[in-house]
Subunit: 194 residues, 2 copies
DNA sequence: CGCGTAACCGGACACAGCGTCCAGTTATCG
DNA sequence: CGATAACTGGACGCTGTGTCCGGTTACGCG
């Protein structure tokens, strides 16, 4: 979705780039929840209707920017080295996944907050991928109640929560990652429980 | 906050009741995220300024309604019977707390969605209470990384998540509760880990 | 019991953002 | 090189917000 640059009129492509660059800047600078379509359009030097042509909301713009980074992580999960990639025991893979997601949130929190806030998070394609991945790990570990547990294990990765822990509670990324890892190893222990 | 009915002019009290009743109805009927101050005022037969006098946003109204129910649960946690109340081992208390919260969400999901959506959830007084309770359980169980783990364990109770699991994934309340209980017992096992 | 005061009420106002439409412009294809 | 299809951006009407102010109503005191 972020890379359908294929066959695009020269001026359209130029504007597309302008919009994404301006949005990246805006979301990083201002409160991500308060960026409006008008803001983005003005910052990009583009009319509002032009913006609406391709994106239906500020969240959609943020999502397009975030998408690229998430794809890269998805690639590493599918084909990368353990423990993130295949090969490691489920608990370790989950811990590695948690750590990688924390990295992503640390780097692009503003985009995540702009894109996946509230229940919108569950409707993104990326969430479907994370869900499938964790589900696989649960099955591999022989966990009972797989379907209900998947989303419980993804809940700690909500962007708003990371923001709260990091900047309200003042926790370092490392401590959050450590807690996530401990959680992962307890829920999916090496000696697979029932 | 929900019960400062003390010394209130007759007409003010009447309007207060009208507003809360109308809001209760509205949040249950319509999409809780799309209820506006104007909607509430109109439904209550009250001017907008009157509404703003006491509540700063639709979320504040929903919060006032939810508050009462949450207080009751808080009472049961502090002084009630085990496993919800004091006496039971931490893992069991956490499981009971999860079950009680699921009950609350099942009954008043619309209010929770109206009040505690997104990062607003962390700013409510209620969240502080849940946080303190879970923190106590973690300490009692001798858990490491208490501060970072508290919020991770509360994340699965986000209203949006419950809505997603229940109505998008089609899971029953019982299955969600079962998964939460399993999680609780693994994170806080009877033989207290480090 | 009646009056003064303080609090309350609700309509009016100005404003910001939304989403769409349309007329002008520009790139691409035959 | 001309026709066509797509892109662009300013303008418009709408909805919701938050505040202000003149009128009204309940309470306390003499």
């Amino acid at each position: 979705m972020a890379s359908d640059t294929g066959r695009l009129r020269a001026d359209a492509a130029r504007n597309r780039a302008r919009v994404l660059a301006a949005a990246e800047r805006l979301f990083a600078t201002a409160d991500p929840g308060k960026v409006t379509m008008e803001d983005i359009a003005r910052a990009a030097g583009v009319g509002r209707a032009t913006l609406y042509r391709r994106y239906s909301s500020p969240a959609a713009v943020a999502l397009a920017l975030l998408d690229e980074h998430e794809r890269r992580l998805q690639e590493r999960i599918i084909r990368g080295e353990p423990s993130l990639g295949p090969g490691a025991p489920p608990g370790e893979r989950l811990a590695a996944f948690y750590a990688a997601m924390a990295d992503l949130l640390e780097q692009h929190l503003h985009l995540a907050l702009g894109a996946e806030t509230g229940s919108a998070r569950f409707r993104t394609g990326a969430y479907g991928f994370w869900r499938l991945h964790v589900r696989t790990l649960l099955v591999a570990a022989g966990h009972a109640e797989v379907d209900a547990t998947v989303d419980l294990l993804l809940a700690p990765l909500a962007p708003e929560l990371y923001q709260f822990q990091r900047y309200q509670q003042g926790l370092s990324k490392d401590r959050i990652v450590a807690a996530l890892a401990a959680l992962a190893r307890r829920v999916l222990p090496v000696a697979a429980g029932q």
